[in-house]
Symmetry: C2
Subunit: 451 residues, 2 copies
């Protein structure tokens, strides 16, 4: 029977072997005392297994409250645990309940983060995954060889459908590839969903008729399920190509239902992510997170961007972009633990620990990369560093103020972003690009700080 | 226009007024530079408002990484922010994206926890809330005047439908009111959902025919949406009365769709809760959390228990039970910040801060309490302290090992729990109860430590 492997970064007041055994027990056949029925045969078949433990450093102050240490020490470690696929079957919520679930509440841990999960090939065969992904989203826009350039309607909330459509017209004429609703804008009284779709799709369809280029607009369909389905159908009927979901707010089951409809590319907004990820020893890391949403069928997923306005480090952004490009079932084993600059937090550095490689899986059915959505405080200048570190143009590059507040207007804003990416692919740094292309100077003056 | 009020505990490297203004801006009309369209009229209508700031203590070490402080200080405060209902309408995922969303990623905060949310009366009118709740769940079991006594099928995973049904028979004959699947047990190969329902409902229906008492069995329907609906219908057709959802794994939209079906009481399991709550300055507190699931229509919600096996403090458990009993729209204002024993964590104590009371709402439509599910390491002895602190028997008291591993078998285990609650309501302490009732001594000897 195939197995699922999950890698955790843990911190424990106990011996690591004991803590790891409790983790495995709690998430398979355990309760707090031995009970009849927990036979050896059953344990053999259904018990989770501790596959590997790599000791890291220890600290004297726990990262999370709720547990005491007899030794005064809290040991950190990387732990790999596996389950038989039989335990949860092809059931995403139950997969999450198994590999995360109650674990964060256990006193055997003063820190626990799910770093990655390795899924067997049958998962990638069972779930159809992103219907559009990188290739499908490119096809919708007919953009090849460079990132898609996108923007967000701002202000986030308050504009009427007519005002929004007028802005979409400006942006479409400026040459934008992609526009999205803000995650705060769904179906409010001042911009009812259907009216907004009508107003915006009239502009987008007219523009497509005239120019042959159909701008993608990600309408925020997030709502309760019946409303999401109604909104989705409205977009389809109106000739739209994309729907946006606030993934954490909607949840896995609702999101999968919408993804399964299959007619629109699904833009996955991860607002709420900071709650799940910001603490270095609590929650989930992006390599695991993105796999869950890929299984659900999300096509595009936010990853922040280089020098973003949020807290996330460049290293973390780069790792996230790389995760999006890897096959769902990588066959390359569980990646080593990597924590960002732990010195800035009250924690000691965590060393890398290499892990065994596991069975490679056939790539044919696992090979559906999700399109990373680079956003948050992006204005173009970050293109150089983004390309230098990732060597890819398979991304959606989103700028809000970076386009709309460009000194020469939105069209100049879009052209500026395209030019920045040309310069980036040319291999130039921000400074070199600004020196070589006079049209980039204005955006540097407005938005950039050349260090 | 009615407004929604959210109370946050924050920690910031900035002046608190500035940080609070950024919070309000990010979650209404803000972007990182001023953009055309963000007019004064629009701001007036749709901008979030900072309603109140109460300074707490300051610390020199940030609780979360990702931000620096020019002053070296990180100031804590309680902040109340409000939004017009117009911004999100009656849309649960968008409510969550608004009051939580991107907030956790902002560098203006090195700590942010949503403590409570006050919803206007129209929310309680719009959402039908729990269809069963306390009164409806009692009616299903015909148990009045004492807590419902429940148990969880253990081992968590691995038993066949036949083995599970045999255990259900023992428990039903022992006089149990409620039994549930483990959250790890959904629809695995060794216990296909339909077969499990058939085997278990045969036992429960037979028992009901003989005795007039129908045991509630919460079948774990958690899965993707179509499968959940199939499972739900199977339970209804088989004469079952309850379905269980792993709320965090399924998500709000999927859970609401299932709750809306209306034929079964919905047992809400909150596995994953520790990730959202264990850090004192990250995530969400239970008073806010339970309101979201009540709006979705959940009838029963886990709250841990006194002296539980997890990390949660008794104070937090008591607060959670009290939150379940309050009307959805309390009209009693936002409760003060209460943090548990911050000394055990690397943080200074946070003082209570009183808040203004706001408009009272009519109780007729808001008055649907959710049934608190007390569980985790419970064996009966905790009944005394649970009742002493909460003065309620409106709860589902769950014991796993506490019943099945009772020295005289499961029937004695169930009788023991009932007796413990009689003693608790009598006002006895654990020690007094054990001294007075000889039949409680055995459970103390097996499970308890009289301090």
């Amino acid at each position: 029977m195939e197995r699922i492997y999950a890698t955790y970064l843990i911190e424990t007041p106990l011996a690591v072997e004991q803590a790891a055994a409790m983790l495995a027990g709690e998430q398979s056949s355990g309760t707090f005392v031995a009970v009849p029925g927990e036979t050896e045969e059953l344990k053999q078949r259904c018990a989770a297994r501790v596959e590997k433990i790599s000791l890291l450093d220890s600290v004297s102050t726990p990262s999370l409250p709720g547990a005491k240490s007899a030794s005064g020490k809290f040991q950190r470690a990387e732990v790999v645990v596996s389950w038989s696929v039989e335990n949860m079957g092809y059931n995403l919520p139950t997969l999450v309940s198994t590999i995360q679930g109650n674990l964060y509440e256990i006193t055997a841990f003063t820190g626990l983060k799910l770093m990655d999960v390795e899924l067997p090939p049958s998962f990638a065969n069972h779930f159809s995954g992103p219907k559009f992904g990188v290739a499908g989203t490119r096809k919708l826009t007919q953009v090849e060889g460079r990132p898609l350039i996108g923007t967000i309607i701002k202000p986030s909330i308050g504009m009427s459908p007519k005002q929004t459509a007028a802005l979409v017209k400006v942006l479409a004429e400026a040459g934008i590839d992609f526009i999205k609703d803000d995650e705060l804008m769904a179906n409010p009284q001042h911009s009812p969903f259907d009216e907004r779709v009508d107003a915006i799709m009239r502009v987008i369809n007219d523009h497509a008729d005239r120019t042959g280029k159909k701008v993608i607009y990600a309408f925020n369909v997030s709502d309760e399920l019946d409303a999401m389905q109604r909104h989705y159908e409205k977009v389809v009927k109106s000739g739209g190509t994309c729907a946006m979901l606030s993934l954490n707010s909607v949840g896995l089951s609702g999101a999968k239902k919408i993804c399964d409809l299959g007619a629109l590319a699904i833009h996955g907004h991860r607002n709420g992510w900071g709650m799940l990820n910001r603490h270095p020893l609590l929650g989930i890391e992006f390599p695991a997170y993105q796999k869950l949403w890929r299984l659900a069928g999300v096509d595009q997923l936010h990853v922040n961007g280089i020098a973003n306005k949020f807290w996330e480090s460049d290293d973390s952004v780069v790792r996230s972009m790389e995760a999006c490009a890897k096959p769902l079932c990588s066959g390359t084993g569980v990646p080593p633990v990597q924590l960002d600059d732990p010195k800035s937090f009250n924690a000691s550095p965590v060393k890398n620990a290499s892990l065994d490689r596991r069975d490679a899986c056939p790539t044919t059915n696992c090979d559906a990369p999700i399109l990373p959505v680079v956003s948050s405080g992006q204005w173009g200048g970050q293109a150089c560093e983004t390309f230098r570190r990732t060597k890819t143009v398979d991304l959606l590059y989103m700028a809000g103020g970076g386009i709309m507040a460009h000194p020469d207007g939105p069209a100049a804003g879009v052209r500026s972003l395209q030019k920045w990416w040309e310069a980036a692919v040319e291999g130039l740094t921000l400074e070199q690009a600004a020196a070589k292309y006079s049209e980039l100077k204005k955006s540097v003056e407005k938005f950039g700080k050349i260090k």
